[in-house]
Amino acid sequence: MSGTVASFDLIVIGAGIIGASCADEASARGMRVAIVEPGPIGGGATAAAMGHLVAMDDDPAELALAKYSLHHWEAFADLREAEFSRCGTLWVARNDNELAAAATRVARLNAAGVEARVVDATTLYELEPALVPGLAGGLLVPREAVVYPPRVANHQVKRAQSHGTQLYAGRRVLSLQRGGAQLDDGTRLSGPVLVATGCALPALLPMLPMRGRKGHLVITDRYPGLVRHQLLELGYADSAHGDADSSVAFNVQPRPTGQILIGSSREFSATDAAASPAMVQRMLERSFAFVPKLRELQAVRIWTGFRPTTPDGRPYLGAVPGASDQWVAAGHEGLGVTTALGSAKLMIDLIQGRQPAIDPAPYSPERMAA
């Protein structure tokens, strides 16, 4: 293969959920696509993710992207590989202050076209009898769902391949070059490049700052019916979007298998992939405070992952500053699965010179060049 040149309309680098979505979208529009992935498809942050499709409303730009993307996730609702489960999201309020704040969030979500409503304590316990007594109520987002991200990414890559996409599996891009990319086996790919390598972005695009924000997850054996909705504390956004070096939040998900997935933790300074007993303890104690029955359940596995995080928390979606025919889609932090499909449509619109359905300006990588 050494020295071979192959030419494409788009070379997608990285087959996580973002790269896979972009390759899927581009090939569906008839583009000749290459996708390069050195590891398993969906094997990075995609594999570590919870797969919760959720609209976060604290940043209008994130909400717009999420709303746009959630609409397209509906096309996956009946796909076996997606393991799509419409469990809804139930945000839990510990006290009347949090419940009052929930009303504000409902208004924001409704304004964005997301169905959501405040529930009182009686309804809360009807919905989730395992919650600890004494909670004030909650915020129910009934149409939200969970998926199994690595299988979705696999499906997207397969579908892209069925539309002619060339998968360079086990291959790494050594460098971006004018009009293409150089692979580690000597192959040169020519065409516009889209870098979707998440936390690994700085290796190819060092001018775009990116940090890995470590998270832990624990999954249990099967306990069907114990938890029915994706449960989060209303204070979650403080952990997710705060700047604290480490934080935990109550975030528990019923998998379609009956297993329970327990999160979440966030750490900026941790670079070691090993599970940290102290963080696991903090995270689990937080979950027990909301669902005491969790204590007795059998954990099958603990893992960690790194969320690709930009300085302002918004993804980079657009042209690489100062380069021609180089594009970037990366840095979705904890919302990459939710926003993957919308990000892909927006990206391919930009690459094809079309007007995207939502305003792309907030995600433009140009903001880092300023």
Binding site: N154, P277, P292, K293, L297, Q298, A299, V300, I302
Partner: protein, 428 residues
């Protein structure tokens, strides 16, 4: 009981018992952990109906000064400490030195019908029988490979089972060559002769293996490939095991380097049983399948070293080396027939926790990619059965160890020391 020991021994089989006893004799404060409710490990497992062998009784009786921490399951590794789980709750036990005597498990290979109730490992049925599993009057086929098949048959007969036959996959010439070598190990020769006498009348067939099992609710008949053709045998129980593989999960989580002889890892140790991690030693099967005598010698050696008595450890090394050669002899003469790698077809289950078939894994060359796409190895056994089988079959190596070492209560992982009993999950 204290939560810190000078020497903490994991595994109360022959290696761990010898290690604990030796370390205690040197005056160390010793803890001996085992997930099982009684010491003895697998080979000296407590039998509810029959007395244990004398060596086992003596080894267990000599544990003065040792804290025997039975029903203690190691779930995670912390800094110079192990997080363990008991029925009552979790504990963090710290150590000065750690001796891994985690033993081995059976190699179990997929074949059509192997998920039927009534089909167990060979050592598996032996263990269950000692636990009181009803085998009296049952027609049992024993198959697989290695001397464990004879030991299992012996236990089953003692408990009243009707052993229809022992089917050894190794060819007759290989087993006979092995038997001739036994003259160099007189104690083992005597043991073997004793077994053969007690098993008089039980057919022992070579070059034979179970190709398929059938039954409705549980196993009813098995097809056995023999050098003279296929025979079908009606039975109530099938016990089939293809030898042993070391338990290395704890060592891997500690960061100890692994060595490989074939497709399965064992803990890498130097001549004095030091692993690549300071203060961590491995004795017995964990460091490579060697058998009972190796286990007892290495347990003592590891304890000598861990307590600073290197002269005593060096003194045992030549004997240990000699016994290790017996393990190598076993591996050579009972090497698995490549046909055993092809028993399963595309519809044969390989991951029994998540019901993934061999066919589901076609095209995958990497355990992690296969796991993400098919759930293979994601279940409660954490890939101990399927991952080991797939490595043996040459598909791909098992993926690396992740905590917890065994499924554990969330409370244990959260460091809670006790559990409120009224919060138990009552099913759906």
């Amino acid at each position: 009981m204290p939560d810190r020991y000078d020497v903490l021994v994991v595994g109360a089989g022959p290696a761990g018992l010898a290690a604990a006893q030796t370390a205690a004799a040197h005056g160390a404060r010793v803890g001996l952990l085992d997930a099982q409710p009684r010491p003895g490990g697998q080979v000296w497992r407590h039998d509810v109906r029959h007395q244990a062998p004398r060596a086992a009784r003596e080894a267990i009786a000599k544990l003065q000064g040792v804290d025997v921490l039975a029903s203690h399951s190691v779930v995670a590794v912390e800094s110079s400490a192990l997080r363990v789980e008991t029925a009552e709750g979790g504990r963090l036990i710290s150590y000065g030195s750690l001796i891994l005597a985690t033993g081995a498990r059976e190699l179990l290979l997929p074949f059509p019908g192997w998920t039927l109730p009534g089909i167990t490992g060979a050592g598996g049925l032996q263990a269950l029988t000692k636990q009181g599993w009803p085998v009296a009057g049952k027609r049992v086929v024993i198959a697989g490979s290695g001397p464990l098949l004879l030991a299992a048959a012996d236990t089953l007969r003692k408990h009243g089972a009707q052993v229809l036959g022992i089917y050894e996959q190794a060819p007759a010439a290989s087993v006979h060559a092995f038997a001739r070598q036994l003259r160099h190990w007189p104690a083992r020769a005597l043991q073997a002769i004793g077994l053969r006498v007690r098993l008089a009348g039980v057919p022992y067939r070579f070059g034979s293996f179970v190709r398929r099992a059938q039954g409705s609710d549980s196993v009813q008949r098995v097809d056995i490939d023999t050098p003279t053709g296929t025979q079908t045998v009606e039975c109530d129980l099938l016990a089939v095991g293809y030898g042993l593989v070391p338990n290395t999960e704890l060592a891997q989580l500690l960061g100890c380097a692994m060595d490989y002889l074939g497709p399965h890892p064992h803990v890498g140790v130097d001549r004095l049983l030091r692993t690549s991690m300071g203060g961590v030693y491995a004795a017995g099967e964990a460091g490579g399948i060697g058998g009972l005598a190796v286990a007892r010698l290495e347990g003592a050696m590891a304890a000598h070293i861990a307590t600073g008595h290197s002269v005593a450890a060096h003194a045992l090394a030549p004997q240990r080396d000699r016994e290790r050669r017996f393990g190598a002899l076993l591996a050579r003469h009972f090497a698995l027939d490549p046909r055993l790698h092809a028993l399963g077809d595309d519809s044969t289950m390989v991951c029994r926790c998540e019901d993934v078939t061999l066919g589901d894994l076609n095209g995958f060359t990497d355990a992690r990619a296969a796991k993400l796409a098919t759930r293979c190895g994601m279940g409660a056994c954490q890939g101990r059965i399927c991952g080991t089988a797939l490595a043996e079959l040459g598909r791909f190596p098992r993926s690396g160890a992740r905590p917890p070492i065994f499924p554990a209560r969330l409370a244990t992982l959260a460091g809670l020391t006790t559990l409120p009993s009224d919060d138990a999950y009552r099913g759906s």
